[in-house]
């Protein structure tokens, strides 16, 4: 039990990346060492929404960048959450001292595309527009064309990237095989029903623990399960063929999912840790072997596998269970991209473009994957890891990429682009919390949530919509 674990970034902003590592570093700028900082190098301030071991990794990559690429000095600053970095960036732009690159998450893609600073200009530049067809910027190869398809379909609109994909994950299932073997549970559940049956067997066995399964009450899991049913979260093809102006929070797919979830909780199979977006609490339950099943972000595959090694139990990763009898859906990505600030001078802008591509070059993409469990973001990185035999040695690391590759390319599985999505996500998790804690009827509660969410979207579109 460490304080860092309690104070993890299970923040209200809806960030998809749990912090479960104990290593934390200062939020303040971490000046890279080295003499090149003193020269005439163009400073590239990069704001990253991590403060833990992932920030350390980023700092190491920045040091390498500063050494290998002439004329630039990338300076990394860590933030506690995506929203902190975003708010700080907007204020910095309005006060005339913007950073060059800001790290912002997938649910806020619409807002990042729309965001306008006080002088009426867009906050972020359109990445492909400023790359302008170049295949190499400041000597760093552009890797956009190499990005794996799940991320490219999510982050592209009309075939063009507005930001550079970086940390990308999917929701997957982790199993404590040792516990399940002890309880005589065989196989790996692939559907809701199979998971429920496995839990029934497990809880009736002598090896039963407090409960069977847990996952954070985070809207991201809800969105996964809607996509796995092949259903939309918003109109206009999930906001892909035009600005979404209607959300479907009370859809049948949604009600079915929450009803199933409530059933698991009512039977004592699911443990609700009592707070929304509780990455740390759910992680700890699995790590302490209180539950044999955990639905979680693949971003922590490395750490969770390691928990099994230190705790003496076998951790297996598997696809997220889907609704029985539904096969046309698929899983979604989660994570974040790097946005280049609009209106930078040319050399700073080129440095920023070089940096975001350097961060995802084959070597760094593979290292990032091995350090965390976020998927290798480029095809070359996947191929290199495969060739090295890394996936054969670490089968858990393969699951998220495979799950995303198995996902068909439909609007439902591409993920929703919705304005004010972060606040709408909170409306969803609030509703689910009422269902789990107060025993509200899922259909009624989701109908109320639909009204609130729709109002939030209407307000957003009033500010940003055409006209």
């Amino acid at each position: 039990m460490t304080l860092a674990a309690c104070g993890g970034d299970d923040d209200s902003e809806g960030g998809d990346e749990p912090t479960t590592d104990d290593a934390t570093t200062d939020a303040t700028a971490d000046e890279p060492s080295g003499d090149e900082a003193a020269g005439d190098d163009v400073v590239i301030p990069v704001w990253v929404a991590f403060e833990d071991y992932r920030l350390d990794w980023t700092n190491d990559v920045a040091d390498a960048f500063n050494e290998q690429v002439d004329g630039y000095d990338v300076q990394i600053t860590g933030f506690a959450s995506y929203n902190d970095a975003f708010e700080a960036a907007i204020q910095a732009i309005n006060s005339g001292e913007p950073p060059a690159v800001v790290h912002f998450f997938e649910a806020a893609t619409q807002e990042a595309r729309d965001a306008i600073s006080n002088d009426g200009e867009p906050v972020f530049a359109d990445l492909e527009a400023i790359i302008d067809g170049r295949t190499e910027v400041a000597g760093v190869p552009v890797v956009l064309d190499d990005v794996v398809s799940a991320a490219s379909t999510y982050y592209q609109l009309d075939g063009s990237y507005t930001s550079m994909p970086w940390n990308t994950s999917s929701a997957i299932m982790f199993l404590n095989r040792t516990l399940l073997d002890a309880a005589g549970v065989e196989g790996t559940p692939t559907t809701w029903q199979e998971l429920e049956a496995a839990c029934a067997t497990f809880m009736a066995s002598d090896a039963a623990t407090d409960s069977c399964v847990t996952w954070p009450n985070h809207s991201w899991f809800v969105e996964q399960d809607i996509a796995l049913q092949g259903e939309l979260l918003a109109n206009n093809d999930n906001g892909r063929s035009g600005r979404a102006d209607e959300v479907f929070i009370d859809s049948d797919a949604m009600v079915d999912y929450v009803t199933w979830w409530k059933g698991l909780a009512d039977q004592g199979y699911y443990t609700y840790t009592g707070t929304q977006r509780d990455w740390t609490g759910t992680y700890d339950l699995f790590a302490a072997q209180n539950v044999p099943f955990l639905l979680y972000s693949s971003s922590d595959t490395t750490a969770l596998t390691e928990e099994g090694v230190t705790g003496g139990f076998d951790v297996e990763a598997a696809f997220l269970p889907h609704k029985d009898g539904v096969t046309d859906g698929g899983a979604l990505i989660g994570g974040a991209t790097n946005w280049v600030i609009n209106g930078l001078d040319e050399s700073t802008q080129d440095g920023a473009i070089a940096w975001v591509n350097f961060l995802s070059n084959p070597e760094n993409a593979a290292s990032w994957h091995q350090t965390t469990g976020y998927i290798p973001i480029t095809e070359t990185a996947v191929a290199n890891l495969e060739a090295e035999g890394y996936f054969d040695e670490n089968p858990n690391q393969r699951v998220a990429s495979e799950q995303l590759a198995a996902s068909p390319d439909t609007p439902a599985t591409t993920g929703a682009l919705i304005g004010n999505f972060v606040a709408i996500r909170d409306v969803i998790t609030e509703a689910i919390e009422s269902v789990l804690v107060n025993g509200d009827d899922p259909a009624e509660r989701l109908a109320a949530a639909q009204e609130d969410a729709q109002a939030l979207l209407d307000e957003y579109n009033l500010l940003f919509g055409e006209g």
Binding site: E87, Q276, D278, A288, A423, S434, Y460, L462
Partner: protein
């Protein structure tokens, strides 16, 4: 300007004139004019910046009523100001010839650093908050859409209007009765006076609860529960501990110092500490109960009463040091001869505590009620964020936490500002009560 708005302004002006005409013994035209100006301008000051939008057909009845209430409050403030200006200054009767500045500008120069700080960090942000509270506004877009009073009135939706009316009526009746009792100066009814005051306060506060929509009523009720719990529990416990630690025992100064330590801990740290203690899955107490009693600790994060209890407990612990500091100091100021006299008269320890010490400490208690309530309103956010995140299902979602949530998740400047204005109104009410009560119901020995 709509005709209706003009009529309301005229009514406010007439009411102002009428009020002030009854204040003095002579009816001067100046008084009437002052009252009319105070009332009219006061009402105008709150409605003109809104462009009289509450009278427009675009908005609902509740916006209209809310606008009237605002105008009434503005008029009341204006009339009070006019009254203060026109009444013969009471202070001038006291001879304060020393320390009066001869120069007109020198005091302003000397005050300017303070004023500059106040303007930059207090008045200017406050003004911006008021502006934002009437807009649909978002951090990521400079565009603003006028919303009139919608940010406020969307929180209003009496589900049981008759109950709100009955309670409000009871409260107002209580206040009137209290005023009557005060006027007649019936000393024998001292206890009745306190009962009337308590009943009317509770009735008014409850009436307010039924004015809000279900969602915001929960925020209001939770804020009340956690604030009252923190203040009442905190003061009782700290007075008890102060009384015990005040006893002359060897080493008292050392442990008195130690008792004050929690004051130095920040609210989020208090939250983390109590989480580590009480968490049902990984907490220390759960570990003990599991190993000693073979039963796990109940999960406070999924039980409303326990969640509120833990938040209150953590807040009490956090404010304990501060309260102790004042109570220990207060106890030292009670003249020992009073207590000795009581002992000679045969008063038991409890009687001495109840009838000598508690009344003697009443100014300190009163001061602490105000500071602790302010703490409970504004500072418990950090504790709650680490303990419960406002859950389960909003049962520890106090007003301040709600404001931060509203702003943080949606970057919603308008709603956040409107809700912080509501909290601000609560604190203004509290401050007015403080100023009125000081020197009236509080005995300074």
């Amino acid at each position: 300007m709509p005709i209706l708005a003009l009529i309301v302004l005229l009514v406010a002006a007439v009411a102002g004139a009428a009020t002030l005409s009854r204040v003095g013994t002579s009816v001067g035209p100046l008084r009437l004019l002052g009252g009319a100006l105070g009332g009219g301008l006061g009402a105008l000051a709150v409605s003109a910046p809104l462009d009289f939008c509450t009278f427009s057909d675009e908005y609902e009845t509740k916006d209209f009523v809310f606008g009237l209430v605002l105008m009434a409050l503005g008029a009341a403030a204006g009339i009070a100001a006019a009254r203060a200006v026109l009444s013969p200054a009471k202070l001038s009767s006291v001879e304060t010839s020393h320390g009066v500045w001869r120069s007109r500008w020198l005091p302003w120069v000397l005050l300017s650093p303070t004023l500059a700080v106040l303007i930059v960090f207090l008045y200017w942000p406050a003004l911006r908050t008021i502006q934002y509270s009437t807009k649909l506004a978002r951090l990521s877009n400079p565009k603003r859409v006028d919303r009139c009073t919608y940010n406020f009135t969307e929180l209003v939706g009496p589900s049981r209007p008759w109950l709100a009316l009955v309670l409000a009526g009871l409260g107002i009746a209580g206040i009137l009765a209290g005023v009557m009792l005060d006027r007649r100066g019936m000393r024998a009814t001292h206890n009745a006076r306190s009962v009337v005051a308590a009943v009317s306060t509770v009735a008014l506060l409850s009436a307010l609860a039924f004015v809000f929509t279900d969602d915001y009523r929960q925020v209001y009720v939770v804020t009340m529960i956690i604030s009252v719990g923190t203040v009442v529990g905190g003061l009782a416990i700290s007075l008890g501990i102060a009384f015990i630690s005040y006893q002359p025992i060897r080493g008292a100064s050392v442990y008195r110092t130690l008792l004050i330590w929690p004051y130095a801990v920040s609210p989020p740290i208090a939250g983390i500490l109590f989480f580590v203690l009480f968490d049902a899955n990984t907490g220390i107490i759960d570990h003990w109960t599991t190993s000693l009693l073979d039963t796990g600790l109940a999960d406070y994060r999924t039980n409303a009463v326990l969640a509120q209890g833990v938040v209150i407990l953590a807040s009490i612990w956090k404010t304990l040091g501060y309260n102790l500091l004042f109570y220990v100091a207060g106890l030292q100021t009670i003249p020992p001869d009073q207590i000795e006299a009581a002992m000679i008269d045969g008063a038991t320890a409890w009687q001495r505590f109840r009838h000598i010490i508690i009344p003697a400490l009443s100014p300190i208690t009163f001061f602490l009620i105000v500071t602790n309530l302010t703490y409970a309103f504004f500072e418990t956010y950090g504790t709650i964020d680490y303990l419960t995140k406002g859950g389960p299902a909003g049962q520890t979602n106090v007003a301040m936490y709600e404001i931060i949530q509203v702003f943080n998740t949606g970057g919603d400047l308008g709603r956040g500002s409107a809700q912080s204005m509501i909290l601000f109104a609560g604190v203004v009410g509290l401050t007015m009560w403080q100023f009125r009560s000081t020197g009236r119901r509080v005995s300074y020995g």
